[in-house]
């Protein structure tokens, strides 16, 4: 992570003034701020939701798809359970699964990318060819294939999405690593005989954090989409769990009479992915230095 030290200390300590950190640069774009607000809003609903929900997620409070019942703001779902309660309960599963999948996938992809980029030779070749095979599957199809017979299980959902991220992240980090290893400080570290694993951890990793963070944002956005679509296809979390994707699947037959049961989770997913992508866009603009390009 780039340490956001105070600008004054930086200016005094390091005469060739360091560029402001990635987060600081990204924050200067209006879209990053909007993204943070949108994302925070949905995360807040997902985290606080279960504590403020008026009913329990499996309690029957109305007739199926009934609206306009007293004390049931958004009506009942396909079984007559409270739509608002299930909406408030259904977000955190999506966040946890998507977060875990993106985190594991990006971590594994980073390791593979750095090792391939730094070691080069046959190892690089082998890793990249395996990568190409993994890339031959559209992400969703790979997830559906693996779960078609074994069945949808939580760990499998996370694992499948993480594995589908791995080659995509590895490719980006490998490119970044190859640029870093041409720098003098890496050559100096090699010259004084630092072990290669230590060079990868201490010299290379801190210098690929910009593309790493952009990848993390991008993969998080994709993970949210894949987890949600798996739930929607009935291949994610199983009933009676309250989950946004599953909610859409359960209630889409009654969309014309009871739109809320679909509209609430759909809006939340849309706002969340837009927010995450706006942040990612801000980060990537900061990473490639679009603002600095304008200054010239």
């Amino acid at each position: 992570m780039s340490t956001p030290s105070t600008p004054t200390a930086e200016a005094v300590a390091a005469p060739p003034r360091r560029r402001p950190g990635l987060f600081r640069t990204a924050w200067r774009f209006g879209r990053t701020k909007v993204g943070v607000v949108l994302t925070a809003l949905v995360v807040l609903v997902a985290v606080v939701g279960p504590f403020v929900a008026p009913y329990t997620p499996t309690e029957f409070v109305a007739k199926p798809f009934e609206t306009g019942v007293d004390g049931v703001l958004f009506g009942g779902d396909n079984r007559g359970r409270d739509v608002l309660t299930r909406f408030l309960w259904g977000g955190w599963t999506l966040l946890v699964l998507a977060g875990a999948a993106a985190g594991i996938g990006v971590a594994a992809g980073t390791v593979v990318g750095i090792v391939a980029g730094y070691q080069g030779g046959w190892l690089d070749n082998a890793l990249m060819r395996v990568n190409d095979v993994l890339l031959a599957f559209p992400q969703l199809i790979a997830a559906l294939l693996v779960m078609s017979i074994i069945g949808p299980q939580v760990w499998l959902i996370v694992a499948v999405i993480a594995v589908s991220h791995l080659p995509r992240v590895a490719r980006v980090i490998r490119e970044a690593t190859r640029k870093v290893i041409e720098q003098d400080y890496v050559k100096a570290a090699e010259a004084i005989g630092l072990p290669r694993t230590r060079i990868m951890a201490v010299e290379i990793l801190p210098n690929v954090t910009s593309p790493l963070l952009v990848e993390l944002g991008l993969r998080l956005t994709y993970s949210i989409g894949v987890v949600a679509v798996l739930g929607f296809l009935g291949m994610g979390l199983q009933p009676p769990t309250a989950d946004w994707g599953l909610m859409i699947n359960e209630n889409r037959q009654g969309m014309a009479v009871q739109p809320w049961a679909v509209a609430l989770p759909v809006t939340a997913i849309a706002v969340l992915t837009i927010g995450a992508n706006l942040i990612t866009d801000g980060l990537s603009r900061a990473a490639i230095g679009i603002d600095r390009g304008v200054e010239k």
């Binding site: 078609s148 017979i149 956005t221 949600a228 929607f232 296809l233 739109p259 992915t273």
Partner: protein
């Protein structure tokens, strides 16, 4: 360049073979008793025996794979469990429907996206450019099935009631509108962005400047000098988006109950119809690899450095 293309083709074939290994491993070479896993706990011994016979589960895994692969290479995709028809025959009509849906979406999305992208480049940093840039960013972030549902809520029977939201066999042509619109919105944003970026680069190039300086009309500059040079990278993105469509149709077909390969796949998974699952996944991966290959070749052909080198 021919050599490069041949190498890519060989590698594509190799990838397809590796994909077949993965498909086989995920559906048939499962830990424990595959037949039991496929049919579930309450399967009768007779059905288990029939399934073992059909998939050659008695043989060693390697032999099973070879027999399966041999069948596929000879065009024999097996027999569907649920409707007892040969898979190849059963898939003919869904494949046709899906290809039509994908083709229509590409036909709608590509020209519109190119026009929007080019116009954004010409109006760089003005209102139209900012709007289209924000619009593509937003549409690109939302998962495509969510876009589809939002369109249904807005334009379907519950909203303005303009178009039907579910495909029916006897329905009119207007039932194609929402699926095509959804897929078009899903594929368009990257094309718009690439077209804009490429056009900006081309418009700032020296040959366009030269053309303007010698007094050519702006229209001629655009059509004769700018547009042809922007085509290469843009064509590549268009091809990549088409490849994405191969996987992207699944959720959209499921949403609109559209009778294509995506819906067949979801039904096959629900019925644990192994030969059908294997065939559809191989088919989708095959199309994906093929279109990606085409994108690669277009990229090579459009790159003057590659085209001219070791001719």
């Amino acid at each position: 360049m021919t050599r490069l293309i041949v190498v890519r083709l060989l590698f594509g074939a190799l990838t397809l073979w590796a994909v077949s290994l993965v498909v086989f491993a995920a559906t048939q070479a499962l830990p424990g008793d595959a037949a039991q896993l496929i049919l579930g706990r309450d399967a009768t011994p007779e059905r288990l025996a029939v399934l073992r016979e059909q998939l050659n589960l008695g043989e060693p895994v390697a032999v099973q794979y070879m027999q399966w692969l041999q069948g596929i290479v000879q065009g024999d995709l097996g027999t569907s469990f649920s409707n007892r028809r040969p898979v190849a025959e059963y898939l003919a009509s869904p494949v046709q429907s899906s290809l039509t849906l994908m083709g229509l979406s590409a036909l709608v999305a590509t020209p519109v996206a190119l026009a929007v992208g080019a116009f954004s480049a010409l109006r760089r940093d003005r209102a139209f450019d900012h709007t289209s840039s924000m619009g593509t960013l937003i549409v690109a972030s939302i998962p495509e099935f969510v876009v589809g549902i939002l369109l249904i809520l807005l334009l379907g029977p519950g909203g303005l009631d303009l178009f039907p939201s579910v495909y029916a066999r006897q329905g009119g042509p207007d039932q194609w509108i929402l699926p095509v619109l959804t897929l078009s919105l899903a594929v368009a944003p990257p094309i718009v962005r690439m077209m804009r970026a490429t056009m900006i680069e081309v418009l700032e190039s020296e040959y366009v400047q030269q053309a303007r300086l010698k007094g050519m009309s702006e229209r001629l500059v655009l059509w004769r000098h700018a547009a042809p040079n922007a085509i290469g990278p843009v064509a590549q993105v268009v091809a990549l988006q088409l490849a994405w469509l191969a996987g992207g149709v699944v959720a959209i077909e499921y949403l609109f109950n559209f009778p294509g390969v995506g819906k067949v796949l979801m039904d096959a998974i629900a019925n644990r119809d192994v030969p059908l699952i294997q065939a559809v996944v191989l088919l989708i991966a095959g199309i994906y690899i093929l279109v990606n290959l085409v994108a690669d070749v277009i990229g090579l052909a459009a790159n003057p450095k590659v085209r001219v080198a070791n001719r």
